[in-house]
Symmetry: C2
């Protein structure tokens, strides 16, 4: 039983939790930069954050120029906004993109980094409060920010203990009108996090327990995901499950599934969670031959076998993308070079096999 | 799904984890006060802590004047030792008493508190690293320190977010020669924490998941506890289970079982865990009548019903203490006045009933 586990983010969960717990924002200073995307103004999340700040008499400004799959350019612009406003802290409101961007902004507001991907991230980072409006990334409880690295033609993460948000507010009501495709894709992302976390060399009893809890909560909503019908409780269960899965990968990292998936996203714009979902069943099935004990533990946590898992994800994914061999070969090559803490080793050829089976022509 | 959850302590778990992770101590400064009891010198824990500090070139001194059920006087002496040594941080090595004392010492080394029990604990507390050598209290992952309050004739806790240790090292090897009675009593304490946490108004999905995990790990060792035969894995499972249960009460607090139990400990020296174990089954059985849904969830987490739970604990406890009615009445009265966040309300008469059934004459 060798593991290390660290989860310093305070979780505040429940309906209207942002406004009800407005005093918690006071600890972080007088001036906030709110980092958000385009849609948070519509789902009520931005309004709640603003109401909480107003109740405390805290000043704020909104930076909403965060594109999907945020670029280095965009987070530099956000950091400039934080500096010029004199922000004491950052509030991230939105899905994975604004939440990840907020972390890079919180860092860049205090540290000069010529190359953000190689910069050694120090402790001096603006404190952050994260308010997710999708249930997938788990960014609200991780020390990771995934940014687009155009030089290396992929998405790449930066990571440091100082990038854990101070607080994550989990209120499913912001997801009430979330489109079905986004709901499904992000839920699959969370499922993938829990499964990939259990495949990690850094997995331990505690992260496995959280992975089981995440999968229990997420697959408890499977029928609703399939039918696209969500009660407030469904939304809360999905959001909670995604956060629990986030706590897993905060400690374990992900697997080559994510690395392969980044290529689908980078080159063809496949949504991140969907990309993982397309690849995960074939990857996991191969793990069964390589590390039976570990993989059976994962299927037990899923509450189903390889075939059922594959079928259930296929139902949610619908018609599959397919790509020519030349692309699959290139992606497998790229993924074979990335270092993931996966306990099950895959050769480049085997990664190609996963791609071929999942999205081959 | 309304809850809040906070667990900022980094968990490092596994054989030889203290020495293997010696560099982690460096972050806290150059001079350490090691707070310990009488037995840590024998089980190897103190030596490991000293070896880690020596490897880092950190200076230290040992304060070992911590009695069982630490007094205010003893923690004031420890704080004086920390100040005179110029300690930058505290290392707690031992069972609940040294670990709790270390928290009060870390606080008193930086804050003047005329009455330690009413003092508002600020953020300025020496950083702490906890190395438990028993598997029960969970103090290594809680913000609580339980001290003896002679004025009120009971044990009483102090609590603040700043009292969470920075790191908890969990190495079961220190418990290899732990006597059977201490092993059983502390395991029962941990079981009680998990159960009582699930009874709290502050319980939520996340703390419940950890309580289930704690009970899974602890009751997985039931046969070994009964027979007093422990492998290194058993010891690690008990220590991990106790820490998981500690994470629960860090967020939920305990129940009137603890308050009642403090009287058995204060007036008759009944070991703390044993006191809880004597009272818990009768208390929980009464909860079933008052809040069926919640209590059935707890029995499900235990993997057994009321009768089996009662019987299993009885086997571990052996011959029961018994006390006259006059004492039971007084203890029920005292417990009725304490405020616990228990979701199931008990009248003084009902608390008396629990005592009568559990330890009556």
């Amino acid at each position: 039983m060798d593991f290390s586990f660290y989860m310093p983010t305070r979780i505040v969960c429940g309906r209207d939790c942002v406004v009800k717990n407005a005093p918690l924002f006071r600890a972080f200073g007088k001036r906030a930069l709110i980092v958000t995307g385009k849609s948070s103004a519509k789902n009520g999340s931005l309004a709640d954050a603003e109401a909480a700040l107003a109740a405390n008499g805290q000043a704020y400004t909104v930076f909403s120029d965060v594109p999907n799959n945020p670029t280095v350019e965009s987070v530099r612009a956000g950091a400039a906004a934080a500096r010029s406003f004199g922000a004491d802290f950052i509030i991230a409101v939105g899905g994975g993109s604004p939440m990840d961007a907020a972390k890079a902004i919180a860092m860049l507001a205090r540290q000069d980094a010529e190359d953000i991907f190689s910069h050694p991230i120090g402790k001096d980072v603006l404190p952050m409060v994260h308010i997710p409006t999708t249930a997938g990334t788990g960014s609200e409880v991780t020390p990771y920010a995934i940014l687009t690295n155009d030089e290396r033609e992929t998405k790449q993460s930066i990571s440091a203990p100082s990038l854990f948000p101070q607080i994550a507010f989990l209120d499913g009501k912001y997801m009430q009108d979330l489109p079905q495709d986004t709901t499904v894709n992000t839920a699959i992302d969370a499922i993938s996090h829990a499964v990939e976390g259990m495949l990690s060399t850094a997995a331990g009893e505690l992260s496995d327990a959280l992975a089981r809890e995440a999968l229990r909560s997420l697959f408890g909503e499977y029928e609703n995901l399939r039918q696209g019908r969500y009660t407030p409780e469904s939304r809360q269960n999905l959001l909670y499950g995604a956060a629990a899965a986030g706590m897993v990968i905060a400690n374990t990292g992900t697997s080559p599934v994510h690395t392969l998936g980044y290529s689908l996203t980078y080159y063809h714009g496949v949504p991140h969670g969907r990309a993982n979902g397309l690849l995960l069943p074939a990857f996991l099935a191969r793990c069964l031959q390589k590390d039976r004990v570990r993989t059976e533990r994962i299927y037990a946590a899923l509450g189903m076998g390889a075939e059922e898992f594959s079928r259930k994800l296929a139902v949610l994914l619908g018609e599959r993308e397919s790509y020519p061999d030349s692309e699959l070969r290139a992606w497998a090559n790229k993924a074979a070079q990335s270092r993931k803490k996966c306990a099950v080793a895959f050769s480049e050829e085997e990664l190609y096999g996963v791609l071929k089976e999942s999205v081959g022509r």
